[in-house]
């Protein structure tokens, strides 16, 4: 079930082939509006004008990597609670636990099926929102 509250995705990925195929899949299959950036610093500079609902963030990038970009995002008051999902091939249990400690909402594994990517994004979005709603009900 698609959630209409998820429409705009900021996608940060340095690999141009992965960036191109994921962007195409998210736009053509998922119907999302996508802003693709090749680096964490580019994402931070273009974030304000785009106002994403969700950030999909590569982990291993030159310069500012995924965790550093996430940390910088969280320093921006308007982005403190912006949902961020890591997209990475580093999905060992230890890695995923470390990502969650950083405040990542979820992780999408690479390699990914381009035709299924939009459904995966909706799935993690639904899970994240459910966790937020549960935390609210518990008064957290």
């Amino acid at each position: 079930m698609k959630d209409p509250s998820l429409r705009r995705i900021l996608f940060v990925e340095d690999d141009p082939d992965i960036q191109a195929v994921a962007r195409m899949a998210l736009e053509a299959v998922g119907g999302f509006t996508v802003l693709a950036c090749a680096s964490g610093s580019e994402a931070l500079s273009r974030l304000g004008d785009f106002a994403p609902d969700l950030v999909l963030l590569d982990v291993v990038m030159p310069g500012m990597d995924g965790p550093a970009t996430l940390a910088a995002l969280r320093q921006i008051p308007a982005c403190r609670d912006l949902p961020v999902v890591f997209m990475t091939s580093r999905v060992d249990a230890q890695d995923v636990a470390a990502y969650r400690d950083l405040g990542v909402g979820d992780v999408i594994a690479k390699p990914f099926d381009p035709m299924a990517l939009s459904d995966q994004v909706h799935s993690v979005w639904k899970s994240m929102r459910a966790r937020v709603d549960a935390a609210r009900q518990c008064g957290v």
């Binding site: 340095d14 690999d15 141009p16 082939d17 992965i18 960036q19 191109a20 195929v21 195409m24 899949a25 053509a28 299959v29 291993v60 990038m61 030159p62 990475t88 091939s89 580093r90 690479k110 390699p111 990914f112 099926d113 381009p114 035709m115």
Partner: protein, 109 residues
Amino acid sequence: MTEPPAEGSLELGSAPLRDYFAARLPERLRQIEDAWTEVRATGWSAGAAHNFHRLVHSLSGAGSTFGFPAVSEAARRLERLLKPVVQGTATPPADETVGELLAGIRRSG
């Protein structure tokens, strides 16, 4: 990293994605070979090792996405070897070991 694909050069669907990546693979392999040359030339300097690892990591993540699971698997074997080195928890492997894994990546494509 390689240049972005030209407008209209990429289409969704398994056959177009495979064709696209097959055309891109030689350039990606050349970049990895160049990075490995730099690693050896600098005696595993941190910058060269990180770049080498990043390129191998990217190939691992890209291969199966474009219908080349053997490329992903071969790259993943090398990435597993490099990851603890760039994290500073292991010493660099022998050149021969890296060379064999690189040859495996070339054969997989």
